[in-house]
């Protein structure tokens, strides 16, 4: 055992007040990056440890939804798919959507779900929702692999456009984080989000161009539609994976990015303003 450090001027000085000024917020967050890694690793292990079919469950959902949407929108409603096989186009849209919906709901419950930690140990609370987003990425990667297999099967593997995909993926992660920060913080005080969120997400799948292409929306509504940030992201995914037969409008991407950044900025602000009060209410 070492002696406690004798030179106390080297020791960090911490000030605790009723309203943390947050000066060291990001440096403290950076110092906790190992903890973030451990939390992600914990959640992944716990998630896949006990379910023997753990992996396949993550894949059942997109496949099932792909079938349903292709049948309803493709076969029955004869909606356009812009030159791609309808199921493949649906799957390319399901990739971001399912990542969004499942991770958003996980991350929104994450602070309450870790109540025992929040009420006992101090660490930057931002780690909690961020962990959920990173864990969700694992499922996303698996689904992406399945997409690649299917795309080879259809003879339409991604072309060079795919190099843009990481950018859209990054935007998606930031969007999820932004939304989750709001809800995760609010649900500490209002538990009803647990019931509200599934309803919103259920509606969202029809409000976003998941089962159909965004070209279905009449032109005069397109700009309004683009304020749903998932529109730009889903279009971006389809364009990156299926090629330039898919629509990609720069103005829509711009709106989507702006909405994303606004949500992220306001979410971070709200979360930071309230995180020091979590343990009072949790």
């Amino acid at each position: 055992m070492q002696e406690a450090s004798p030179d106390r001027d080297l020791l960090p000085l911490i000030m605790i007040t009723s309203n943390p000024d947050g000066k060291n917020y990001w440096s403290e967050f950076w110092r906790s990056r190992e903890l973030l890694g451990m939390m992600v690793w914990r959640d992944i292990i716990v998630r896949y440890k006990q379910t023997a079919l753990g992996l396949s469950w993550a894949l059942m959902r997109p496949l099932a939804m792909m079938l349903v949407f292709s049948l309803i929108f493709g076969r029955l409603a004869h909606l356009p798919s812009n030159g791609a096989p309808y199921p493949l186009m649906v799957f390319a849209g399901l990739l971001p959507w399912l990542f969004f919906s499942s991770t958003f709901s996980d991350a929104s419950n994450s602070v309450i779900g870790n109540a025992n930690l929040v009420s006992k140990v101090y660490f930057p609370r931002l780690i909690i929702p961020l962990t959920s987003v990173l864990v969700g990425l694992v499922d996303f990667m698996l689904a992406l692999l399945v997409y690649l297999v299917i795309s080879f099967f259809y003879g339409l593997p991604p072309k060079f456009h795919v190099i843009i995909l990481p950018l859209f993926l990054l935007q998606l992660c930031l969007l999820i984080l932004g939304c989750s920060l709001w809800v995760a913080a609010m649900s500490v005080w209002y538990r009803d989000f647990r019931h509200l969120l599934p309803v919103v997400l259920q509606l969202g799948v029809y409000l976003s161009p998941v089962g159909f292409s965004s070209t279905v929306v009449p032109d005069k509504w397109r700009h309004l539609y683009a304020f749903n940030p998932m529109v730009g992201i889903i279009d971006g995914f389809r364009w990156s994976l299926l090629g330039n037969t898919q629509p990609l409008r720069i103005d829509e991407i711009g709106i989507s990015c702006m909405v994303t950044l606004l949500l992220l900025w306001s979410g971070l602000r709200f979360f930071r303003r309230n995180e020091h009060r979590f343990s009072d209410a949790i």
């Binding site: 055992m1 070492q2 002696e3 406690a4 450090s5 004798p6 106390r8 020791l11 960090p12 000085l13 911490i14 000030m15 605790i16 007040t17 009723s18 309203n19 943390p20 190992e34 903890l35 451990m38 939390m39 914990r42 292990i45 716990v46 440890k49 006990q50 025992n116 930690l117 929040v118 009420s119 006992k120 140990v121 101090y122 660490f123 609010m186 209002y190 538990r191 009803d192 989000f193 509200l196 020091h276 009060r277 343990s279 009072d280």
Partner: protein, 412 residues
């Protein structure tokens, strides 16, 4: 003296939701938006100050105990110091890495193995991965769980679980350690071991904050103490004084209300006085006798009846057991009636300090009438004539004895 912790006028307020709580939670956000929940909430909320204007300073290397009854605000204070909670008002400065060993096992995940949990818990407590790796063997060795390292901790016995959890936190090397009732984990031998570990931590020049209900552990580990009562503190004192205050306070609260009635014997009154004066604080001079008077009522014929008192230390160690029938065998058989029993603790007998007088009444092998319900704490001051070596000398032992010292000079 360098300060480790400076606490300035810290207060913490909680909102208590009275019985409307369930309703307003059901109303929730939606109700709030519609303006319904709000009105009910205002009616049912009340502010509760868990801490009020707490100020104290802790020197580097000082071992400070925080004592107080359950609900006095100790845990809230520790939570604020460890940054889990924010104060409502006030300011705290902390120099150095502060780690708290509040409730061992926080952050253990039942599905992870012992090994995995050690790393996870280490990270939660602020240890880097390499730091944990470096101490891993020592931690596992201390916890005595080598054979079960790769078993999920949910299959651990509760003893193994707390041992491992304690070990992780014990091998942290913070500058300031906050210990909250951690000594009570595991079996007797592990308790002893963890206690020694705590002493080791405390003896390395670290600042230690210790919260426990075990007064003997407090006395052993700490040099100074603050007593929290209803969210306020008295000034920092030497540990003995704080323990004395705490025990006296605690017993006033828990002490029995006279009369203490049982089926066969009622204890009607207990008077502890000095020179015929009642002393509301029971602070007595050491060079005058202390009078004890018991008034009790016997309802039926009792065989082998003993009544009298114990004098105990505040830690519960018995110093004196003195019963009426000890030297009066004929008093063993009690007839119905009301009795006054008087006794005296002689002058210059108890050493300065805090004591508890406990009334004992029993029938041998049959029953104990008052259990430990009739208690009177009291404090004895140092006899004026006692020749102390220096002003701040502590009290040694509990009983004065004048063994008739005599000395003669046998050579020049």
């Amino acid at each position: 003296m360098r300060k480790s912790i400076i606490v300035e006028k810290v207060s913490k307020k909680f909102r208590i939701h009275h019985k409307m709580e369930r309703e307003s939670q059901e109303v929730g956000l939606l109700g709030k938006l519609l303006g319904r929940g709000r009105m009910e909430k205002d009616l049912s909320d009340e502010d509760f100050w868990a801490l009020r204007d707490i100020s104290f300073e802790v020197n580097q290397g000082e071992r400070l105990a925080i004592v107080g009854r359950n609900g006095a605000g100790k845990s809230t204070l520790l939570k604020i110091l460890s940054r889990v909670m924010s104060p409502t008002a006030g300011k705290i400065l902390i120099r150095g890495r502060l780690s708290s060993l509040l409730e061992v096992g926080t952050g253990f995940h039942p599905d992870l193995t012992g090994r995995e949990n050690v790393y996870l818990n280490g990270a939660l407590l602020g240890m880097s991965r390499s730091e944990v790796r470096q101490k891993f063997d020592a931690i596992v060795d201390f916890a005595e769980v080598e054979r079960f390292l790769d078993v999920p901790v949910k299959r651990y016995s509760s003893g193994m679980y707390v041992r491992l959890a304690f070990s992780v936190s014990a091998f942290l090397e913070p500058d300031i350690v906050v210990l909250d009732e951690v000594l009570s984990v595991g079996d007797a031998s592990f308790q002893q071991k963890s206690y020694l570990k705590m002493r080791e931590l405390a003896s390395q020049g670290r600042t230690v904050l210790f919260v426990s209900h075990s007064m003997s552990a407090v006395k052993d580990l700490c040099e100074s103490a603050i007593l929290i009562e209803n969210g306020r503190i008295k000034e920092k004192t030497k540990v003995d004084d704080a323990i004395g205050d705490y025990m006296r306070h605690a017993m006033h609260i828990h002490g029995a209300n006279m009369p203490l009635e049982t089926e066969q014997v009622d204890l009607l009154a207990l008077h502890v006085t000095q020179s015929g004066r009642k002393n509301p604080n029971y602070n007595f001079e050491g060079d005058e006798p202390v009078d004890v008077e018991l008034i009790y009522h016997v309802k039926e014929n009792l065989q082998h009846f003993r009544i009298g008192f114990y004098v105990k230390t505040v830690f519960g160690d018995m110093l004196i057991r003195s019963l009426l029938a000890d030297r009066n065998p004929e008093m063993e058989n009690a007839r119905p009636g009301t009795y006054r029993l008087q006794a005296q603790i002689p002058a210059d007998f108890l050493v300065a300090g805090d004591y508890v007088l406990e009334v004992h009444g029993s029938q041998f092998g049959v029953q104990d009438f008052f259990s430990s319900n009739a208690l009177q704490p009291f404090r004895i001051a140092r006899p004026k004539l006692f020749n102390i070596q220096h002003e701040r000398e502590q009290a040694f032992g509990h009983i004065y004895l004048d063994p008739g010292w005599s000395q003669e000079q046998i050579s020049g």
